[in-house]
C-alpha cells in the first residue's frame, strides 16, 4: 500500500522516538503572533535557553491591532504592551517580524501563503488553531499551545503522536453560488464539530481539485472546526502556480528541484486511509449556521431545526442551549432573519479572491440602512491589491467600512466587536457564545457572497437570488 502525504511528511521530519513513546518531530516553519508567544519567551528566559533556529520562525501582529486606526500608541494600552513584547522578543532573538510598517503585515494565516513561506511537504506550526489553513499548500500544519511554542523556539521540534487520516472527497461540480466556505460548513455539519477528533483531514475529489488556492485555504482553515487538528490538500499544478514568484518561494534552478520534491509528497494513488468519506458536490447549498457550534448549520433554504431533530440526548440539550442563546424558534426559516452587522474578513475569508468575488456583485448597490458592514482585508498585501484593482473603492461606495488588515471582528481582541445581542452575518470561523465580543452577541457563519447579500438586504438572504447567480 502507498502512503499519504501526512505520513510522508511525518516520516521526513521525524527526529526519533521519545521515552514516553511520542515522536520527536522537526518543525520546518514556525509562525508566530502576539497573543500566544510572550509567555513562551518568558519560559525560555526562565530556562536560560536561546532560540535554536530563529530563521525558521516568522512573526506578525494580527489579533489585537485596531482596524480603524493603527497609529501608535494604540488607545488600548494592553494591546500596545502585547505588540511591544512581540517586537522586543523578535529583536532580541533575531526573528523576522512583519510589523505594521513592513507592507507585509497581516493575519498570520494570510501572510504565510501570500509570502510563499508556507510550502508543500513542510511541517508548519503556530500558536493558533487555524494553522490548519496552511495544509491547503500540501503541508502538515497544526495549531499548538504556548508551552509548545516554547518547545519549538528552544528545540525546533515537538513531542507529538501521529493522527489518523480521513480522506474527505467532494466529488462532482459545485453548484453556482456555492463557495469553499459552504463546502467546509457542509462537511462540518455532516461529520460533526467533534467528528474529526484524532484525525487529519485530507480533502480531495474533483470539486477540491478544481478549487482555486484561496478556496482551498478557506476549506483547510475550517478543518479545526470539525475537530481535525490538521487539514490538507495534495499539492498540484495550482499549488505550484500560486507559489511561483512569491518572495520566500524557491527561485531559479532551485524552483524546479523544489517542485519535483513537492510532488513526491502527494499521497500515493494506493495510499491507505483510516477512513474515507465521499460527499456529492451537488448536494451542497449556500450554507449558514443557526447555532453556537459550526456544525449547527443548514442550507439557506432550510429552517431552524427543533431539538427533536437532534441525533441524541446530548445534542438535544445542545440544541436547546443554542436556540435559547440565538433567540431562534424551531421551524423558523433562516432566510429573512434580520441582521445588524455584516463582516467580511478573517483568516477564513479575508483573501483577495473573497473581495474579488464580492466586488462586482455589490458595485452600484448600497448596504441596507441600519446595517453596519465591515470589510477587512486579511493582510497589507491583499489590502494593496484591493486598492489597485478598485475593489476597495467599490466596497466604500456601497457603504462598507473598508478597514485596515487584522483579525477584526472574528474574535474580539481588538475594538471591533458586537454590542448586546446583535446578529452578525459573518465570514469568520466560530459562532461560539460571546465569540465576537459581546457575551450575548449572535454569529451566523456564512460565505462572503451570503454576507454581502445580508449587508445589502439587512437580512439573511440567498446570494443566488440577490445577485442573480445561476
Amino acid at each position: 500500500m502507498g502512503k499519504t502525504l501526512y505520513r510522508k511528511v511525518w516520516e521526513a521530519h521525524t527526529v526519533g522516538t521519545l521515552p514516553d513513546g511520542r515522536t520527536q518531530l522537526f518543525i520546518a516553519t514556525h509562525l508566530m503572533h502576539e497573543v500566544t508567544s510572550p509567555q513562551a519567551f518568558a519560559m525560555l528566559r526562565e530556562l536560560n535557553l536561546p532560540v535554536l533556529h530563529p530563521e525558521r520562525t516568522f512573526a506578525t501582529v494580527d489579533h489585537i491591532i485596531p482596524t480603524d486606526n493603527q497609529c501608535e500608541p494604540f488607545a488600548d494600552p494592553r494591546a500596545a504592551t502585547m505588540l511591544d513584547a512581540l517586537r522586543r522578543n523578535c529583536k532580541e532573538h533575531g526573528i523576522r517580524l512583519f510589523d505594521l510598517a513592513s507592507g507585509r503585515q497581516g493575519i498570520v494565516h494570510m501572510v504565510g501563503p501570500e509570502l510563499g513561506i508556507t510550502q508543500p511537504g513542510m511541517t508548519i506550526v503556530c500558536g493558533d488553531s487555524h494553522t490548519a489553513t496552511h495544509g491547503a499548500m500540501g503541508a502538515v500544519a497544526m495549531g499548538i499551545g504556548t508551552t509548545q511554542v516554547r518547545d519549538v523556539l528552544a528545540t525546533q521540534t515537538l513531542a507529538m503522536s501521529p493522527l489518523k487520516v480521513r480522506n474527505v472527497r467532494v466529488e462532482g461540480t459545485l453548484r453556482p453560488g456555492v463557495t469553499a466556505k459552504d463546502v467546509a460548513l457542509h462537511i462540518i455539519g455532516r461529520l460533526g464539530a467533534n467528528g474529526g477528533l484524532g484525525y487529519a483531514y485530507e480533502f480531495g475529489g474533483s470539486a477540491i481539485e478544481n478549487m482555486e488556492m484561496d478556496g482551498r485555504l478557506t476549506l483547510c482553515n475550517l478543518a479545526i472546526e470539525g475537530a481535525a487538528r490538521c487539514g490538507y490538500i495534495n499539492p498540484d499544478e495550482k499549488t505550484f502556480a500560486y507559489l511561483k514568484g512569491r518572495p520566500y518561494a524557491p527561485k531559479g534552478a532551485d524552483w524546479d528541484a523544489a517542485v519535483e520534491r513537492w510532488k513526491s509528497f502527494a499521497s500515493d494513488a494506493d495510499a491507505e486511509y483510516d477512513d474515507v468519506v465521499i460527499i456529492p458536490a451537488e448536494e451542497i447549498e449556500p450554507t449558514v449556521t443557526w447555532g453556537i457550534s459550526p456544525d449547527m448549520n443548514i442550507g439557506i433554504s432550510g429552517s431552524v431545526p427543533s431539538p427533536n431533530d437532534a441525533r441524541d440526548t446530548e445534542s438535544r440539550k445542545a440544541y436547546i442551549t443554542a436556540l435559547e442563546y440565538m433567540k431562534l424558534t424551531p421551524g423558523q426559516p433562516i432566510k429573512g432573519l434580520p441582521v445588524d452587522v455584516a463582516f467580511i474578513g478573517s483568516c477564513t475569508n479575508g483573501r483577495i479572491s473573497d473581495f474579488r468575488a464580492v466586488a462586482p456583485l455589490i458595485a452600484g448597490r448600497k448596504v441596507a440602512p441600519g446595517v453596519k458592514a465591515l470589510a477587512v482585508p486579511g493582510s497589507q498585501m491583499t489590502a494593496q491589491q484591493c486598492e489597485e484593482e478598485g475593489i476597495a473603492q467599490i466596497f466604500r461606495d456601497a457603504g462598507f467600512e473598508w478597514r485596515l488588515p487584522g483579525c477584526s471582528m472574528c474574535l474580539a481582541m481588538n475594538p471591533d466587536r458586537l454590542i448586546g445581542d446583535q446578529i452578525c452575518a459573518s465570514t469568520s470561523n466560530r459562532n461560539f457564545k460571546g465569540r465576537q465580543g459581546s457575551p450575548t452577541g449572535r454569529t451566523l457563519l456564512m460565505s462572503p457572497l451570503m454576507a454581502a447579500a445580508a449587508a445589502l438586504t439587512g437580512r439573511v438572504s440567498d446570494p443566488r437570488e440577490i445577485f442573480d447567480i445561476a
Binding site: A28, Q119, G145, L411, F432
Partner: protein
C-alpha cells in the same frame, strides 16, 4: 527542575456540563490581552458564570457546595476551538487538578498534558452518573487515578481512558517535554541542514 508525578488526584468535583465546551467559553478573548499567565486565576468560564454587570448566573462552579472542587466533570469535545493555552492555564490556576470528560479536543488535550493537568475520558453514562451523584452529594470525594485508570468514590468506580504516551509522561513526571527534546541535538541539526527553510 524535577516535575511532580501526576498519578492520583482526589477531591470534590464540579460539573461543567454540555457538549462542545469551547475555549472561548472557558476563557473569553478579552482575558487574553496579557503577556503572562499569572493573572488568569479565577477567570475560567467567566461569561458562563457572570452576567455583564458582574452578578453571578448561578453556575455550579460558584455554588458554595462545590467550593474547593479540584476535578471538573465535562461533556463531549471539551476544549474545542482556539488553541489558547490560556484555557487550561486558567483552569489549572483556578485550582482544578484534573478534568474528566467524554472526549477532548486535540489541542486542548495536548496543552493540558503539557502543563501537568490530566484530561481523562469516561463513558457518557458513567459521566452522567458521576455528575448526578455529585449534584446530590457535593461533598463526595472523587479520585482520578492514572495508575488504575479509574474515577472512583466511596459509592462507585468507573473506568477512564487516556492515550498511553501522555499517561506515561504524567505518571513519570516527564510531562514537560522540553528537556527530552533537547537530548538529540545532532539528529535535529542533521534535519535542519537537510530540510528546506523559507528564504528570501
Amino acid at each position: 527542575m524535577p516535575l511532580n508525578k501526576v498519578i492520583s488526584i482526589s477531591g470534590k468535583a464540579v460539573p461543567v456540563p454540555g457538549a462542545d465546551m469551547d475555549t472561548d467559553r472557558i476563557i473569553p478573548a478579552r482575558f487574553l490581552k496579557c503577556v503572562t499567565f499569572d493573572e488568569l486565576a479565577g477567570t475560567m468560564f467567566h461569561d458562563e458564570r457572570f452576567n455583564d454587570d458582574g452578578t453571578p448566573k448561578g453556575h455550579p462552579i460558584d455554588a458554595p457546595q462545590h467550593a474547593g472542587a479540584c476535578i471538573i466533570l465535562g461533556g463531549e469535545n471539551f476544549g474545542c476551538g482556539s488553541s489558547r493555552e490560556h484555557a487550561p492555564q486558567a483552569i489549572k490556576r483556578s485550582g482544578i487538578q484534573a478534568i474528566v470528560a467524554e472526549s477532548f479536543a486535540e489541542i486542548f488535550f495536548g496543552n493540558s498534558s503539557g502543563i501537568g493537568l490530566p484530561c481523562v475520558c469516561a463513558a457518557r453514562e458513567d459521566l452522567l452518573a458521576a455528575t448526578a451523584l455529585t449534584a446530590e452529594q457535593p461533598a463526595t470525594v472523587w479520585t482520578v487515578d492514572l495508575d488504575s485508570m479509574t474515577l472512583s468514590c466511596a459509592e462507585a468506580t468507573y473506568p477512564i481512558r487516556m492515550p498511553a504516551e501522555p499517561r506515561e509522561a504524567l505518571m513519570q513526571g516527564r510531562w514537560d517535554a522540553v528537556v527530552e527534546l533537547m537530548n538529540a541535538p545532532q539528529e535535529v541539526a542533521a534535519l535542519a541542514a537537510k530540510l528546506p527553510c523559507p528564504t528570501l
